[in-house]
């Protein structure tokens, strides 16, 4: 069964839109609401985020620093993770 070429075109566009939307979003989780200038700063410091559209989410459990999530990757620069690592070190240190 042959598909109408117009419908094919439409479907292709919709698919591309959805893909682009999914791929180009990056989430920045911070402990307080970031201003646009600060978001731009983050984008400049991480060249990999050039093609991504950043949006901000607030979560005060991370205490300080921020998390950047894009695709399935995460850059974790929070104080909470540093403290968790510290917990591991103190457990591992042996006399």
């Amino acid at each position: 069964m042959a598909i109408d070429p117009d419908i094919k075109e439409e479907l292709k566009n919709i698919l591309e839109e959805k893909n682009i939307a999914k791929k180009q979003l990056a989430m920045v989780v911070s402990s307080y609401k970031l201003s646009d200038a600060e978001l731009d700063n983050i984008k400049k410091s991480f060249p990999i985020l050039k093609k991504y559209f950043l949006f901000n989410r607030v979560d005060n459990k991370i205490q300080a620093g921020f998390i950047i999530k894009f695709d399935s990757k995460v850059v974790d620069l929070t104080l909470r993770s540093q403290l968790n690592n510290f917990k591991k070190i103190t457990y591992e240190v042996d006399r």
Binding site: S72, K73, V75
Partner: protein, 500 residues
């Protein structure tokens, strides 16, 4: 206070060495948790065999990469994992930290200590999964590995770099043979690794106790994945043991690895595969059950001098049911190994311990891995025993037989009796040669069978106290000269005279 100061100093030192680095981590979300297996979404760029870490600190091992899901076996407690929680990829494949300090320790398959001691720290990690050395790296097996069991060293000799399967029903003495082999390596500079897969904790404790009592822990490592350990750890245990063995082999040492036992290993892998919904084959085992054992056992080899000259000898153990060797796993492993030692419950119950069926046990390396001293006595032993087996059926007609047959039967029964050995008492090469020599040269033909055990104890006592030089000579030169034989005959005759 001083203790706290020291502690704080250590923490400071550790923190200074770890600089804050900005790294991108792959992250996934747990979608499903089944018994010991978690299915994650995300983790787009993770590789097969990589480690992931869950929120609780438990590690996982990536074992299945689907189109948009990743299957991970959980290397630890899976009871508190919640669906929706995060798991991050650690970026490296599973490897175990190895160093000289691991000798004498009891560890789990991830090299975490299980004996209450300190953690094993090392800069070197050896990968758990590794491709076996190819043909160019290998050398043929020629050096013997003395197992300390007379029957094995004489008739089914094991060489360094060989894989010899120990196979039999439950309770026939498989672990005992392996442990005796470990005990016998005390003065041989061979590193031993005992890998317990799915064994009872009480049994492992008994093994550790026995090895400690005999001062064997100085050169032994025990890798333990007990019956209550998750299937994932039971699956990885032999590979971890092999990784530790490879570390010592690369340093030029000879290593002996015992896998106790591979049947439970196959069961653990079957459990994981069925949970992952992989197609079940014969006896519900997955299709790659052969590869599971072949890639493990192929890593046992003897390396050429150019690459260090070390070797790994593997003694895998398989448990059969009802003495049936034609089931799936036994036939698989028999075709992989360079020979097998069959233990049979009938022989065990008849008092022949070790219950080795010499007729069907094989060592495909054979005489090339035997010392000249042993070869000289073993040839006659083999022949006499073979003739005895052929005529064993006639032993019931004792009164109606001719003299020749009676002589063969007598000799055969004496030889069988001399091969019986108490457990956890391995013999050195010289003692083995002396005992077998006494039987093959007919000096025991006139002694009643009941006295032979006594004779053996007396001879061992006499040689170890009055013939130390003779023992040293044989153990060093590994050859039996004419003068050695005459001296030995003297000792044997003396012992026969005092044996009651």
């Amino acid at each position: 206070m001083k203790l706290i100061d020291e502690y704080l100093k250590e923490i400071e030192k550790d923190l200074k060495s770890k600089k804050l680095r900005i790294k991108t981590e792959e992250v996934g979300i747990i979608e499903e948790v089944k018994d010991g297996v978690a299915i994650l979404s995300g983790l787009d760029n993770v590789a097969y065999g990589e480690l992931v870490e869950f929120n609780s600190g438990v590690l996982g091992y990536v074992i299945e990469l689907g189109e948009d899901k990743v299957g991970v076996i959980i290397l630890g407690e899976y009871l508190n994992l919640e669906a929706g929680s995060q798991a991050k990829s650690l970026g490296f494949t599973l490897s175990v930290p190895v160093s000289e300090k691991i000798l004498g320790r009891v560890v789990d398959p991830l090299c975490n200590p299980q004996d209450g001691g300190s953690k094993i720290r090392s800069e070197k990690s050896y990968p758990v999964e590794k491709v076996a050395p190819s043909v160019v790296y290998r050398k043929p097996v020629t050096a013997p590995l003395q197992t300390g069991t007379k029957a094995i060293d004489a008739l089914i000799p094991v060489g360094r770099g060989q894989r010899e399967l120990i196979i039999g029903d439950r309770g026939t003495g498989k672990t005992t043979i392996a442990i005796d082999a470990i005990l016998n390596q005390k003065n041989e500079k061979v590193i031993c690794i005992y890998c317990g897969i799915g064994q009872k904790n009480s049994k492992m404790a008994a093994v550790v106790n026995l090895l400690t009592k005999n001062n064997a822990m100085d050169y032994t490592v025990i890798v333990n994945a007990s019956a209550s350990a998750p299937a994932a750890l039971q699956y990885l245990a032999p590979y971890s043991a092999m990784a530790i063995a490879e570390y010592f082999m690369d340093k030029g040492k000879d290593v002996l690895v015992v896998f106790d036992d591979l049947t439970k290993h196959a069961w653990a892998y079957r459990e994981i595969s069925l949970i992952l919904r992989r197609p079940a084959g014969r006896e519900a085992y997955p299709g790659d059950i052969f590869y599971l054992h072949s890639r493990l056992l192929e890593r046992a080899c003897r390396l050429d001098e150019k690459y260090g000259g070390g070797s790994i000898t593997a003694l895998p153990i398989i448990e059969t049911l009802e003495d049936d060797l034609s089931t799936y796993i036994p036939t698989n492993v028999i075709s992989i190994t360079d020979g097998q030692i069959f233990l049979q419950p009938d022989l065990f119950n008849a008092g022949i311990r070790p219950a080795i069926n010499v007729g069907i046990s094989v060592s495909r390396v054979g005489g090339t891995a035997q010392t000249k001293a042993m070869k000289s006595v073993a040839a006659k032993l083999k022949l006499d025993l073979a003739q005895y087996r052929d005529m064993a059926a006639f032993s019931q007609f004792e009164s109606e037989l001719d003299e020749e047959t009676k002589k063969f039967l007598n000799r055969g029964s004496k030889l069988t009796q001399i091969l019986i050995q108490k457990k956890n008492q391995p013999y050195s090469l010289a003692l083995e040669v002396a005992l077998i020599w006494s039987a093959t040269h007919g000096l025991l033909d006139d002694m009643p069978i009941a006295k032979i055990n006594n004779f053996e104890n007396q001879l061992v006592l006499r040689l170890t106290t009055k013939a130390k030089k003779w023992l040293e000579r044989i153990n060093k030169n590994k050859i039996l000269t004419e003068t050695d034989e005459t001296e030995l005959e003297k000792y044997i005759k003396e012992t026969i005279a005092i044996t009651r």
